[in-house]
Each structure stands twice: as structure tokens, then as C-alpha cells.
Point group: C2
Chain length 266, copies 2
Amino acid sequence: MKAAQSPLLQQTHGLRQAIRRKAHTGVTSGLAQGAMQGNVVILTADWASEFLLYCQKNPVACPLIGVSEVGNFTMPELGHDIDMRHDVPEYYVYHNGEKVESRSDIEALWQDDMVAFVLGCSFSFELALTQAGLTPRNIEEDVNVSMFETNIATVPAGRFFGNTVVTMRPYVPKDAIRAIQITTRFPKAHGAPLHFGTPDAIGIQDLNNPDYGDAVTIKNGEVPVFWACGVTPQVAIRNAKPPICITHAPGKMLVTDLLDTDLSVM
Amino acid sequence: MKAAQSPLLQQTHGLRQAIRRKAHTGVTSGLAQGAMQGNVVILTADWASEFLLYCQKNPVACPLIGVSEVGNFTMPELGHDIDMRHDVPEYYVYHNGEKVESRSDIEALWQDDMVAFVLGCSFSFELALTQAGLTPRNIEEDVNVSMFETNIATVPAGRFFGNTVVTMRPYVPKDAIRAIQITTRFPKAHGAPLHFGTPDAIGIQDLNNPDYGDAVTIKNGEVPVFWACGVTPQVAIRNAKPPICITHAPGKMLVTDLLDTDLSVM
């Protein structure tokens, strides 16, 4: 994989620095465009191999792009200066599957037996959509993408199980077709949608009340299009109940130095 | 382009022979699977260059795969023994844009100044859909595919103009997404759909009353998916009113010796 070109590398480095010094605490959607962003899951080593298997069995919702050495908070394959304890705008901390706090860094919580996982994120295809004239509504409205828990079961692995979380972006059918083609090129960023149209067919009751993120406007003639989301493992973690687990807060991702296009196909 | 492999070549040759001797007069959907089928338009040379331009301007609805020499009823690039006067199960004959008769051959009508055009057909991706477990409903129900005139204008060229005709195949959204991916690989067979869902958004009033072909069952939870159709030029011909024009009857195509995959991408 190729590191981002210099001007973009300056952006990703600058953004991570701003996050590290807590100057940027918000969502990362639409920032450092062209650089791959990732979902973060941190577990202790005794839970890590089951989680690794869970990702392998659910590659659409959980496309792994990086796994750290045990106890090592760097992630050199995703960026030479990444510090997994500081470089996410907001972390969620779970004890026995229950969220107990959110933090702007986890230095005090880092343990020598921790393993960090980074999963591809649908933000990676948002630039490609935007460049095709299909700017996602959440970017247009400058809010976090809408995320919903569905009734689509993931494949369980060890103690990890649960339903798939999806992001939703509305498009008219013609543009949805183009968006399907474009996102198919990004299998490591959840790829093509799982569903479009009828929310209730996948267990979503109300598009105006997302489970995570913000509601967006759905215009007349548009249909909701649903992509698998890297928040899915957070549901599996709630179910698995590991003594400690740390994730990113939805929409507040790890910004890497890789290009979105590094993991695209065709 | 590679000719079809021997067993398939025997099928295509056998089917064309059966058509030629009028033993097969029905639709060709689902027959000689793997061999490319084509829409047919025959015009006199003084109309041919405008029609060629019309196809160039509307490549999704009118993907040209063959054009004959003036006055020559063979089409060697699509099959060494093809006779454009005999090898279509049913021909429609138009005078000044009005359909005046249908015929099982056009030998008596062939003129020395005629040019035959062959356009790719969505049947070419039906095998790929079937192999992916997405058998089109028209094949399941053994009827002609449903075709509808829409309000989607084509780009006019010379005297040729009109709205796009589409085929419709119903799928649940998950399968529609896969069908979009699969048909994207066949740009010379109309490629990805133009629309899905709401028929009225593209000017279709009643899915149970197709303008050509047969109605098919739409099951609960399925959405109609619409692909551009090679019957589109027949509308443009009605509008252009050439003194004489000959086409295939909808669903009764020219079966070629090319493989569907010859013109697929990726």
C-alpha cells in the first residue's frame, strides 16, 4: 500500500495532531478527504482471537485493515506516527459490554495485553460518491451519518454475536444505482449496500430516529440506501461482554495515512 | 471476439436452423444460453447513417454489436452462416413508421440498398443473473420479458427521436443490488438498470400491462428493476417514419455465435 501523497499526508498528520491535542473532538466525515478512515476496537489479548475470527466471518460489516501487535499502541501500516491511545476524537469504554464512559484519550487505560483493531469505514467511499456528483446527504447537511441497528444477524464467532448496524444515505433510484456501482469498488469500506427502500424489511422502525449519528433529510422521490457499518462490532461487544473494551465513538474515526483508493478495486 | 465453444455453437446453429425453417417461431429468451442475442433493425442506406448516429448517441439503449455491408444480408462477425432475411423468429415490417405486417422471413422484402443493424440485448445478462441465483422472473414463468415505454427521452439524431423502452425484472432489494453489480459487467447488453422502484417516476402507469411482452408476478417485498431495452429504436423508427424498416418482434431475437462474455467487462 502506498502512503498518501504529501499534501494529503500533511492534512492527515495535522488532523491527527489536532485530535491528539484535543483541538478536534468532532466527527471526521468529510475531513482529510482521500485518506482512509477506520473504525477502532481495542480488546485484551484473551478476547482478540475470537474477535479476529468474528471479523473474518463478517467481512462486509467488519473489514479489517489493521491489527496491532499485543501491547503495542502504534499502527505503522496505517500511519507512521499513529498512537491508538490518542488519535481518535472520542473513545467509548465498555466494561462487561456496558458503556461506562467516553474519553478523549485512553492513555490511562492502555494495558500491556491490549490489541487494537482498525476496520474500514464507509467514509472511504464518500469522496468517490461526492466526486461522482452524489454527495452524501450527511456531508451536505454537515451532520454525522445516520446509523441504525437492523435485524440482519451477523455470523457469530466465539462469544461475539449480534445484528448488523447500517449507515443510511438517501438517493433517487438512478443515483442509487450509480452509488451501488461506485461503492462496489470499495470492499474494504463495506462495499455495496445491503439494502435499499423499505426500512422495516431490515428491522428499522423510524428513519428520523437513528440509533447512532444524526437524522438527515430524505427528499421526495428518494429511497434510503443502507450500507453495513463498522459500528456493528460495538453491538457484538455489548453481547460478548468482555471485561474491558474500547472503541471509537460513532462517526469519530481514526484517520489513517492510506489512500481510500489503496484498497479499492477496479 | 471469440466464437462460442463447440457444443454451444451447435446449439446456436441448430436454433438458427430451426428458426430459418420456421420450426421455432417463439421467443428466444433462455435458449442457447451463453450465446449473445441481438435486437435487429434493417433500414435502407439513405436512413442508415442517421440511425447509426442515433445508436452512437444512445449507447445504453442501443448498444451496437454489428452492422452489415450495404445490401449484404450476412453478418459474419456475429456468426458465419447468419442470414438476416431468415434468422429471426418473427419480423415486424414498418412503412412510414407504421407497422404493416409481421413475417417469419423477409426474403421477398430484401433490397440491394438495405443495411442491417444488430444491437445487444438484455437476454445476454440473464444467464449471468441465473448463474448467480437471480433467475429473472420471465424465465421462471416461461414468458416474454415485460417491456414498457417510459418518459425518459433518448438523444435525438437526424429524424430519429423518442422515449426509452425498458425491460422489467422484479427482485427483493438485496438481490437487486447484486443484479446491478452483475449487469454492470455487460455494457453491450444495456448494462446496469436505469431505475428501480416507483414505475410512475419514469412514466409507467401499470406494471401488469406491459407495452410489449408479458406481465410477470411481482411478489411481496420485491421492487421492479428497469433496464434499457433494444426495442427503444422501434419507437424512434415510428417517429422517424422511414418508407420501409424491418425489425425483430420483441423477445424474438437474432441468436449469434458470440459468447455473452465476449462483450462483458471485468
